[in-house]
Amino acid sequence: MTVNFDNAATTFPKPVSVRQAAAKAISELGGNAGRGGHDLARRTSEAVYSARETAASFFGASPENTVFALNCTHALNMAIKGIMSDGGHMIISSIEHNSVSRPAYALFQQGKIDLSCADAETDPDRTVENFRSLIRSDTKAIVCTAAGNVTGQIMPLRPIARLCREKEICFIVDGAQACGVLPLTLEDGFNILCTAGHKGLYGITGTGLLISDGQFTIKPMIQGGTGSSSSLLTQPELLPEALESGTLNTPGIMSLKAGIDFVRRQGIDNIKEHEDRLCRIFIDGAKEIPGMTVYRNPGAEYVPIVSFNISSASPEKTAAMLAKQGFCLRAGYHCAALAHASLGTKQGTVRFSPSVFSREEDVHRLLRLLRSIQENRSDL
């Protein structure tokens, strides 16, 4: 039996309602949203707008400032490159995923921006001060994850948002690991929230969101057909079409709507409580296994993700041995070189990340297996 504890990469299984929504879109919503006036186009356009309203309402935004993307990386690239297109200085945190650090570094390498990195510390006040100390007169944006994808550490978003507002800096938040387990909305003070649709929001892969408060102009990275102002060679300036060139992923978008409705029905607090409980069981069990290290610091807050290592095997080898027994956990650097450099985990870690569907008995089985691996038992 396959047990997925790699839900931080993408949640699986998906709720029945999500699978049904995607299937229904494939079989019934065969038009091209926002293009044409025939019945198929009209029905598809209506459905996509309804999904836009659902996502907007979930994140405290307006539908026209809610942009569908392919994934969180796509949304973050649009936000970072769109805000920094005229140059300036940008600050990111030391635990960013490559979806932030790579586009930021690419702009820096091309000589288009100056880039600084603020240390994420256990003490949130010190983290905020680290950001504050790096702000310059030409700082245009701060990009910060809501929760790191390696250890799950939650970042002090509200104080950073206040800092940004005070200095008129655009605050871009990566919500990939937080949306669906933390109640993030634009009311928290973000200017742009980017997230995946296929993780904690339970949509299918190929979905993401860029949510803007409309205060900062995001220049489009790509241009193309939007279904509007078609005679003009210039890209429309209004969101969402400015950032949505080309045909939309209707089955994905409808699955995302169903996923958000699912999360609403379950309740973010209930989902987090369930996943946190499984993480606590895992961490408590890990304490009983000599040579097992869990990367959490007292005083810091975490989303339901636990990074660990065992002394008898490398992260990749540990994950491979777990996979032989049907457990899916991700090992290595988790596309987050900065975070592992901060942790000092030269070979990376193994990451345990449950979902709302994960079961306690599977956590106990996993712990027994990890103990066996650590004890070098020959039955593996």
Binding site: A33, G34, G36, G37, S45, E46, Y49, R52, S62, P63, E64, T226, G227, S228, S229, S230, S231, L232, P236, L238, P240, E241
Partner: protein, 79 residues
């Protein structure tokens, strides 16, 4: 542009996109205005797109959209 059909006033407003047409439709319906989204029949200078047709005066419809900062253009041809 204000048109009169069968003794009833209709106002046709060109919307910058389907998204804004839906936004306008929602706002106008909240204010009990009869409104429908139609595909623009005659391609304008900027190209194809969507219009909203509102029953009643343009002035009232435009005031509602202006208050919500919803962009639009009046259709310059008979619909």
């Amino acid at each position: 542009m204000q048109n009169q059909r069968n003794d009833q006033l209709f106002c046709t407003l060109a919307m910058p996109s389907y998204t804004y047409a839906k936004k306008a439709e929602g706002l106008l319906r909240q204010r009990s205005k009869a409104v429908k989204i139609v595909r623009r029949e005659q391609t304008s200078v900027s190209g194809c797109g969507y219009d909203i047709v509102v029953t009643g005066s343009c002035q009232a419809a435009k005031a509602i959209l202006d208050r919500a900062s919803v962009p639009y253009a009046e259709v310059s041809h008979d619909s």
